[in-house]
Amino acid sequence: MRDVAIVAFAQTAHRRRTDELSEVDLLMPVLHEVLGATGLKANEIGFTCSGSADYLAGRAFSFTMALDGVGAHPPISESHVEMDGAWALYEAWVKIMTGEADTALVYSYGKSSPGEVRDVLTRQLDPYYLAPLWPDSVSLAALQAQALIDAGDTDEAALASIAARSRTDATTNPYAQLTGDVPAGDHLVHPLRTGDCPPIGDGAAAVVLAAGDTARALCARPAWIRGIDHRIEAHSLGVRDLTDSPSTRLAAQHAGAFERPVDTAELHAPFTSQEVVLRKALGLGGDTRINPSGGALAANPIMAAGLIRLGEAAARIHRGESDRALAHATSGPCLQQNLVAVLEGESAHA
């Protein structure tokens, strides 16, 4: 087994609209930032992998345009997932583990501003039984929230406190979009209020992965990926217990998350209610700092927000603020698919 670490992370300041920026304009600054931080040139990167979704901005093959920002000529070793960048990171990790690369550039971006993201996300649903009803992303999350309330796992006040904690923490995050004293607001879809829902916006993120001594040369304190795994549940909501996330638990188990406590967890929970599910599935107690960045409730650039969880957790290790962190990313309706990674700083490993 090779040791692989996240050695650099950058993200944009996430904003409601970025009309003056094409996808590649949005992306280039974060690509340059991570390359600058490691001193790597684009042609020194062993593998490049990206995550994005054409439906968000309604532009076919937008990821091929985004490649202009990488300097992909002469041809590079490259791949793309039509998913959150966390899954692009997973692919890059596999590529390094197999010995086919020593370094990887992973990036993702999402421009939600051109479309109606609640409608756009209905198109990822089963086309036979779900998509013809156009159940939007907030409505599906609200069904899950009500199930949690019925089960006694939370109530509207507890959800509001998750929102408040997240946006208060986000006041120290210069990249966050929604920070500070955000009112709980009216019910958007009952029982979820506007405050329980993530901001809609545009953003991008990038990380650099490296193996072994290369990682040590590129970063003073690499964030070593001790384990990473992703698992998926049935698509049909009526088959699942929406108050639990067995796929998260299984991924965490495979990633070694339960072997020792983590001091930090960056959870990709766009809705307050989903944090309740994830904490329960991961058995996270009061000793673990949850989403010090403010999480997806403070900035939720779709397709990048999961990669940002991995980046935020790694950055805390880089800065010496965490020794062992859990990072989580999700995809699909009501936490259908979940990725968990365990990251450690070198001293914690000794």
Binding site: D19, D25, M28, R123, Y129, Q146, A234
Partner: protein, 315 residues
């Protein structure tokens, strides 16, 4: 920035899907006001039915009929219905476990307000007046205080006359597309019949149309450079099949054209010369139609052909 062009963009398509035996029986059943489930490996009945067991992944084929009444397992009140959702008035999204089924179906519940909805409430299907074999054959659910259906579903052979074998799910998404800085500048210049590219500050190549970045160097381009209007055909093809909605007689020639001063060829149609006389190196110039945003086509300038060495890097 107000320099950025924007325009409505509608992405619309019919999503055409064929159905397997289980989905076909279920959707045909809805047309006939019959709700079918499938028995999973653990003996429970899944509604809506799937073709493979969610736990074991085994193929499932044993169909049963369940009741049209059921129990709400969770709900969410939607005060602002969106386009194409099942009801135009405020409604509750519900997961409903139909009597005889072990799993729940997503649909809408017609109720006067959130106070009238709770988990555990009893509901029944309201059928759509016109049914075609689709999930929308269920118009919605409605509150129901009557008898529950049997707990034990009955066997069904899944046979119907004139079964539905496919669905067409219309999809439409509305966007406001913004062109970004580089493309906006390019389009505005085109409106004045000028072609303006951007030069890479590192390798000095001029890209037309500009995309905001140099794909070789991976850095932003910003310096604007007017190119053309004349250019050289670097390669071409002869189109022999008429494209839908395109009013051009075949055969015609479609070519890559390197405008003078550009380091990337763009493409356009060649006219004003018999199709079989178009050649690499042919010198051309744009022809603008009245009020058009792009050149209609390119025509020969009458200059001698360009030497291959002058454009070989752009082929």
């Amino acid at each position: 920035m107000t320099d950025v062009l924007s325009a409505p963009l509608v992405v619309e398509f019919p999503f055409t899907r064929s159905l397997g035996p289980v989905q076909s029986a279920f959707l045909t059943g809805l047309r006939e006001r019959t709700v079918l489930g499938v028995r999973a490996d653990d003996g429970t009945v899944l509604v809506p039915p799937v073709e493979y067991d969610p736990v074991t992944a085994n193929e499932l084929r044993e169909l049963v009929e369940v009741a049209t009444t059921g129990t709400v397992t969770t709900w969410a009140w939607n005060p602002f219905p969106r386009r194409d959702q099942p009801l135009g008035t405020p409604f509750a999204w519900v997961l409903v476990r139909l009597d005889g089924a072990a799993t729940a179906l997503l649909h809408a519940l017609d109720a006067p307000g959130p106070d009238a909805v709770h988990t555990g409430m009893r509901v029944r299907i309201r059928w759509a007046a016109t049914r075609t074999g689709a999930i929308t054959d269920i118009a919605c659910f409605e509150p129901y205080e009557g008898e529950a259906g049997p707990d034990e579903p009955t066997h069904h052979d899944g046979e119907f006359t004139d079964p539905v074998t496919g669905i067409v799910a219309p999809a439409r998404l509305d966007y406001v597309h913004t062109a970004g800085r580089a493309q906006s500048a390019y389009l505005k210049a085109l409106a004045g019949h000028r072609t303006v590219g951007e030069r890479c500050p590192a390798c000095r190549k001029v890209y037309v149309p500009p995309r905001g970045a140099c794909p070789t160097c991976g850095i932003a381009t910003a310096e604007q450079v007017e190119v053309g209007p004349r250019g050289t055909v670097t390669t071409f093809c002869i189109v022999n099949i008429k494209a839908k909605n395109l009013d051009i007689e075949v055969p015609y020639v479609y070519a890559h054209i390197a405008l003078d001063g550009a380091d990337l060829a763009l493409h356009g149609r060649i006219a004003g010369i018999p199709y079989d006389q178009v050649r690499m190196g042919l010198r051309v110039e744009p022809v603008w139609a009245e009020g058009a945003a792009h050149p209609d086509h390119y025509r020969p300038t009458g200059e001698p052909d360009a030497d291959y060495d002058t454009y070989k890097e752009l082929v």
